[in-house]
């Protein structure tokens, strides 16, 4: 979610505009000047969309060189709506990303699932894997310096396919904080807060549904 404030100019004439474009193409265009950022250089971006049927126009400028990209738009798909309602959140914690980064990088990938336990009692917040070597548990106490907010009302243990969560580690690497919320059905919401150089914040949100076969956790 990129808030309007991030942009120097933001003008949308209709209530909401939705279209679909190829993500890797978009990424290629945005990084057309290269992915490394040298100090002192900045790439400027201007995005325009004329409306239904028109391509998305990207104007990129760096050091006097201008590139124009036209990306064809497609019919938007139904957005997968997990119906994750903020008012129905059962457990919520906000952690400083620093504490999770290494943990996520070292997760035992031979485990098919990542189990998340959130509870008002010990172990408070626990990430568990069950891999070839055995089980591993990562515990964060509620009074940890990393814990910015801790609102757990009910003990919940949910398992999520680790392959679905691994991609979120990129956002984790860039973020300064992450909010972890679960609802009554065990749906998981991860919200990563990313602060850019100007101090502007934007959010990357992940939603994940729990794994069907929920079995007793091994201790």
């Amino acid at each position: 979610l990129l808030q309007a404030e991030i942009f120097q100019e933001f003008a949308v004439q209709e209530e909401s505009v939705t279209f679909r474009i190829n993500l890797s193409v978009l990424l290629d265009c945005l990084t057309i000047f290269g992915t490394s950022s040298l100090p002192g250089t900045a790439t400027a971006l201007r995005m325009c969309y004329r409306g239904y049927g028109y391509p998305l126009m990207l104007f990129l400028e760096e050091g006097g060189v201008v590139t124009v990209c036209k990306i064809n738009t497609q019919e938007p798909d139904e957005l997968l709506d997990f119906d994750f309602c903020s008012t129905k959140v059962v457990n919520k914690i906000i952690l400083q990303s620093e504490g999770l980064r290494e943990a996520f990088a070292e997760l035992d990938m031979t485990s098919e699932v990542l189990q998340i336990t959130m509870s008002p009692d010990k172990p408070y917040f626990r990430l568990s894997t069950f891999g070839n070597a055995g089980s591993a548990h990562l515990d964060y106490p509620r009074d940890s310096d990393l814990m910015e907010a801790f609102h757990c009302n009910q003990t919940q243990t949910n398992r999520y396919k680790i392959s679905l969560l691994k991609p979120s580690t990129k956002a984790l690497a860039l973020s300064c904080k992450v909010s972890i919320r679960t609802d009554a059905q065990g749906f998981l919401s991860l919200q990563y807060m990313i602060r850019n150089e100007d101090g502007q914040v934007c959010f990357v949100e992940y939603y994940c549904c729990p794994d069907e076969d929920i079995t007793e956790a091994e201790l």
């Binding site: 290494e102 070597a133 548990h137 990562l138 964060y140 106490p141 940890s144 310096d145």
Partner: protein
């Protein structure tokens, strides 16, 4: 068994595990009264390493009560699994304050728990297998030659050899100089071979009690793991070696840690029997102004030396490879023994072969002796091991 490691020692433990992982695929944990021993052996059983951490290394050390058979519980785990706990050494140093190792025989789990910064706890529950004692039989007292040098000296020497180099020969030259040379197979074409040889002066070593002209060839790869540990811990490394073919032992010692690396060495039967001056092979050319000429003569000598078979030379001694049967053998141990029996080759094997080290069981010290015609090269070492 329960033990707690704190502070800087957590990193030492991590480095030890990394070092052991360079050798074997299984880590043997053996709590003893004199400390916790971590051991491993490579698949061809030509390299054995053990790290013995004294009780003082730990904040808490409880080896545990004896099992019904009177012995303390020993177990082995997959090296990869144990290593994954200590995977990142920098992060161990930065974030881990305490490491707890707990053996839970009833739950069949070895628990390794790291207490990290910010109150975070990482708990690993690893599956383990009970096992027999892993002990290579060796005796540093029986090694005729020994050298001791700061690890740094050896590390700086070894850096000149390519990472892929398998074997290296250590030799004692004239004037007390010690040489390191990459081992070149006799079949190798001199024109396509590069020989790297470096010489260390006697004063680089803290002690050097070596027979001039003695040399020994061993696997460099397995040695590198220990060398990295030695360098990081700033401890002097002692090398004990005897005649080619007999195991050589590298040791590191400090107040709370004892490390042994035992490597099988290449045997060179013809050189043990022929007088040293007949061909250039057993005579190391010392560096001199005529070094280039010497080298050429040396290479020619290598080319022309012959390997005599059946000329009245007694067969190369082999290590008795069968371990004496322990009182009760579990399927795991039987498997190991089968492998060893397949490998037992009496007589003259091809000259380039690192024979397996002799592994003895301390459970049955007077155990069934080897066949009368076989010479026992390595007796049981003294009781501490």
């Amino acid at each position: 068994m329960k033990c707690i490691v704190t502070g800087g020692n957590v990193k030492v433990l991590g480095r030890a595990v990394h070092s052991l992982s360079r050798i074997g695929d299984e880590l043997y944990l053996e709590p003893t009264e004199s400390g916790l021993s971590l051991r491993t052996v490579n698949s061809s059983r030509s390299a054995f390493a053990s790290f013995l951490f004294a009780p003082l290394f730990f904040q808490l050390y409880q080896p545990g009560g004896p099992q019904p058979d009177g012995e303390l519980l020993r177990c082995k785990v997959h090296m990869k699994s144990f290593l994954s706990v200590f995977r990142s050494l920098p992060s161990l140093e930065k974030t881990v304050g305490k490491c707890l190792i707990l053996l839970k025989p009833r739950a069949n789990r070895l628990v390794v728990q790291l207490h990290c910064k910010y109150g975070v706890t990482k708990t690993h529950n690893l599956a383990f297998q009970e096992c027999e004692r892993l002990q290579a039989v060796f005796d540093t007292q029986r090694c005729a030659n020994s050298l001791c040098a700061p690890a740094r000296v050896l590390a700086e020497a070894v850096v000149h050899f390519p990472q892929t180099l398998a074997e290296v020969t250590l030799g004692a030259g004239p004037g007390g100089k010690i040489s390191l040379r990459n081992y070149v197979e006799e079949e190798a074409e001199p024109r396509k071979t590069m020989v790297t040889e470096l010489w260390l002066a006697e004063d680089e070593f803290q002690t050097a009690a070596v027979a001039p002209g003695s040399r020994i060839t061993f696997c460099l790869k397995e040695f590198r793991g220990l060398l990295t540990f030695a360098e990081a811990s700033n401890l002097p490394l002692t090398i004990h070696y005897d005649v080619p073919g007999r195991p050589m032992v590298f040791t590191l010692d400090d107040a709370v840690l004892e490390v042994h690396l035992v490597l099988a060495t290449l045997s060179d039967p013809e050189n043990d029997l022929q007088p040293p001056t007949t061909n250039g092979v057993s005579h190391l050319p010392a560096p001199s102004d005529d070094f280039a000429d010497d080298l050429e003569a040396y290479m020619i000598a290598m080319e022309t030396s012959t390997y005599e078979e059946g000329s009245g030379v007694p067969p190369s001694p082999t290590f008795p490879l069968r371990t004496p049967h322990p009182a009760k053998s579990d399927p795991e141990e039987e498997e190991e023994e089968e492998e060893e029996e397949e490998g037992a080759v009496p007589g003259t094997p091809p000259h380039k072969k690192f024979r397996s080290l002799f592994f003895g069981s301390v459970l049955t010290p007077g155990g069934p002796g080897p066949a009368p015609t076989q010479e026992v090269l390595a007796e049981d070492s003294d009781g501490d091991y």
